[in-house]
């Protein structure tokens, strides 16, 4: 162990200069020279700023690491124990008080919020669903799925095309889309689940891209890049348009003036109930043998197989459940937009959902809910930084993996104590 105290400024300055030179080589051409047709213009100012920031940053980090505080920080970082936090056996979760309040607030939102806020919240909830679905696959079962957007697309196009060709509405497509996505998950999953993590990631990525390319190129069936329109949900047959196709529309039936916000309120309420249902199901599942099997398989596959777990079935169930949640989210997305086209289902979407799961904490339900709202609502609020959104996601993913690979919200698990009188 190097017990030397005090800060070696010379070394720090050397580090900073090397970092600055590298930054000059790396950022120099791309930032310093702006291509303009076959010509270019120079931007020395931007380049100088970036190089200065890199040098300063390296210098500060170098000093910090050498200081006592920094050493302690590094030591803690190296010693940190990843894994679940086990609560005391008699620990009472505060969720019992918080949850009813959240549900009441959630049910009141559509009646107080403006239409714009409502649309943003609906989008947030759709991503909560997507995050929960992917969380089963990545967070609990540890299978990196980079093509999750494929199941989302199946749900969304299921509603749009089911309406166009078969005349099926929102309510019939909601369960059908979930089943369809689950079947797609099984078809994809069955052959690929025997391979190990990285290959699985690439195969699922290829699968997501294949779905998108087929949707784009099969113009006779899907109308290609032009997209398809999707129907709105109905309330016992009452429609939310100004003029109903059949029967009376919602506002005439109740004698209300027409307001386009009604449909968002209705979509919101259904979505909210569905999200609560999915949350409940997931909460129960993680405490059932199948949920334990997912997590066990994530931690050590070989040990699980030695203990007699059928790894393909366990993984397949995680994959199908995740996929069906994605399909449900897709149905809501289609009905909320009223329109779907392939450009909504690019790889970036998969990466965004993955970022939600990673930021929220792999396997943590609460974390995923919070992260989904943060990552979808924040870009709406910071419109002027819209260009930097993807950059922020990327930096977030790298930094989170280095700093807190298990996410911001740690998974907690109830502890058990031996009963009084039990034989030790």
């Amino acid at each position: 162990m190097n017990q030397q105290t005090g800060v070696n400024f010379g070394a720090s300055i050397k580090d900073a200069v090397i970092a600055g030179l590298l930054a000059l080589i790396v950022f120099g051409p791309i930032v310093g020279v702006l291509l303009d047709g076959y010509d270019f213009s120079a931007r020395p100012g931007d380049l100088a700023t970036i190089v200065a920031v890199v040098m300063f940053g390296r210098f500060v980090i170098s000093i910090f690491v050498q200081s006592d505080v920094g050493r302690k920080f590094l030591y803690r970082h190296a010693m940190k124990e990843d894994g679940v936090t086990v609560t005391a056996p008699d620990y009472k979760s505060k969720m019992y008080y918080i949850l009813p309040i959240v549900i009441v607030i959630g049910l009141l939102v559509p009646f107080v919020a403006t239409k714009y806020i409502l649309t943003v919240v609906i989008l947030g909830l759709i991503y909560v669903l997507l995050g929960l679905g992917l969380n089963i696959v990545v967070g609990l079962a540890g299978l990196l799925d980079l093509g999750f957007v494929g199941f989302y697309a199946i749900g969304a196009y299921g509603l749009a095309l089911g309406y166009e060709y078969l005349g099926l509405g929102f309510w019939s497509m909601l369960p059908i889309a979930a089943v369809m996505a689950a079947i797609a998950g099984a078809i994809l999953g069955f052959p690929v689940l025997r391979m190990h993590g990285d290959y699985l990631a690439i195969v699922t990525l290829g699968f997501g891209e294949i779905i998108r390319l087929v949707l784009t190129n099969w113009t006779e069936f899907t109308h290609g890049p032009n997209g398809v329109s999707a129907p709105l949900p109905t309330l016992f047959g009452l429609e939310f348009q100004r003029r109903s196709r059949e029967g009376t529309p919602f506002h005439e039936f109740f004698g209300l003036p027409f307001d386009s916000a009604y449909k968002y309120m209705f979509v919101y309420l259904i979505l909210f109930v569905v999200v609560l249902a999915v949350l409940y199901v997931k909460h129960r599942l993680t405490r059932m043998p199948i949920g334990r099997a997912w997590e066990a398989l994530r931690e050590d596959e070989i040990a699980c197989r030695s203990l007699g777990l059928n790894h393909v079935l366990v993984k397949l169930s995680a994959f199908m459940l995740g996929a069906s949640t994605g399909g449900i989210a897709g149905v809501f997305f289609a009905t909320y937009q009223g329109f779907v086209n392939p450009s909504s289902f690019t790889f970036f979407e998969s990466a965004l959902i993955l970022a939600i799961v990673v930021l929220g904490g792999m396997g943590s339900t609460l974390g995923v809910v919070i992260a989904a709202f943060v990552l979808t609502v924040m870009p709406e609020m910071l419109r002027e930084f819209a260009d930097y959104r993807v950059l922020m996601f990327g930096i977030l993913m790298v930094v989170m993996m280095i700093w807190k690979p298990r996410g911001l919200v740690r998974v907690t698990r109830k502890g058990f104590a031996t009963r009084k009188g039990a034989v030790k």
Binding site: L22, I25, V26, G28, P29, I30, V31, V33, L34, L35, G37, Y38, D39, F40, D46, V138, G142, L144, L146, P191, V192, M195, H196, G197, D198, Y199, A201, I202, V203, L205, G206, F207, E209, I210, L213, V214, N217, E301, I302, A303, F347, F348, A351, L354, A355, V358, D387, Y388, R389, V390, L391, F393, G394, I395, L396, M397, V398, M401, I402, P405
Partner: protein
């Protein structure tokens, strides 16, 4: 008949480019067992660097083709190599002992960073470079003809030269020997005095340099590019690496050629709309039926 021959020629050049990029995937996978998801975007950066180098060289009054080509190649390879080093240092080295999932997610993050960084600094629109080398050789075949442009010949020549130099480095030099040792057993190699961190860095630099060579060649031939080109070509090069057997250097080159040829034939004879679907399906099928590829060794998972 002439279509088939023409597509074979196109497929050969395409395949040699895939092979060059696949080298980066396969070497990194062989040495630290990770899929360098950002590799396709390193290629994308190199096509911007190509255009910038050509613009700079023309600005300083260099007109002749060889000078521009060699200037561009040297500039692009050095700067892209620096990218490879920095990416490894910033995003992967801190995660050396983490789970594979963490490293892969970090690599995806790096890929997003590179794409968005280039988009912000150079704009989202498509960029292009002027044609530097025109002209072609034509062969009469039956009723039609087969055309081989000089640019395509140059690509084939440069790609095979690059692969030859790399094979020499890996097989004959001290650096190559250390690379192979680290690939076989990282712990043992470090016990025997090899600075494995430095070897891993140099593997990233070599991979980036090969991607840079591919970037220069494709950009010179095709002329147009944008910040998103790295994604599709990255997956295809990865397919090539898997096809040849990931971790195997000759496998990457062979896989690249096979993928390029079959994709070109599919595009020419069946449907060019679905050629990407074909490549991705090929990837899925190979991974299911022969995950170790053509020349790879089957992986045995140890406890």
């Amino acid at each position: 008949m002439d279509i088939v021959l023409q597509q074979l020629v196109n497929g050969l050049t395409l395949g040699s480019v895939y092979g060059l990029i696949a080298i980066g995937y396969t070497m990194v996978y062989g040495i630290i067992g990770m899929i360098n998801f950002a590799h396709g975007d390193v290629y994308m950066v190199s096509s911007y660097l190509t255009a910038i180098a050509i613009a700079l060289l023309t600005f300083f009054g260099f007109e002749s083709f060889p000078i521009i080509i060699f200037g561009t190649l040297i500039f692009t390879i050095i700067v892209t190599g620096a990218y490879g080093w920095v990416i490894e240092r910033v995003a992967y080295r801190p995660l050396r002992n983490s789970s594979r999932l963490s490293i892969l997610i970090s690599a995806i993050g790096m890929s997003l960073i590179l794409q968005n960084y280039v988009q912000i600094s150079q704009g989202a629109r498509q960029q292009g470079i002027p044609t530097l080398l025109s002209g072609a050789i034509r062969f009469e075949v039956g009723d039609g003809f087969v055309q081989i442009t000089y640019m395509k010949l140059f690509i084939l020549f440069a790609a095979f030269l690059g692969m030859g130099i790399l094979t020499y480095i890996i097989q004959k030099t001290k650096l190559g020997r250390m690379c192979r040792a680290t690939q076989q057993d990282r712990k043992m190699a470090s016990i025997l005095g090899i600075n494995t961190d430095r070897i891993i860095s140099s593997v990233f630099v070599i991979g980036a340099a090969m991607a840079a060579l591919a970037g220069v060649l494709v950009t010179l031939d095709y002329g147009a590019f944008d910040f998103y080109v790295g994604f599709i070509i990255g997956i295809k090069a990865f397919t090539a690496a898997v096809l040849g057997g990931i971790g195997s250097l000759p496998g990457a080159m062979l896989g690249g050629l096979i993928l390029g040829l079959s994709e070109a034939l599919f595009a020419g004879l069946i449907s060019s709309d679905y050629k990407d679907v074909f490549s991705f399906s090929l990837l899925v099928v190979i991974l299911i039926f022969r995950p170790s590829g053509l020349l790879g060794k089957p992986e045995v998972e140890k406890v």
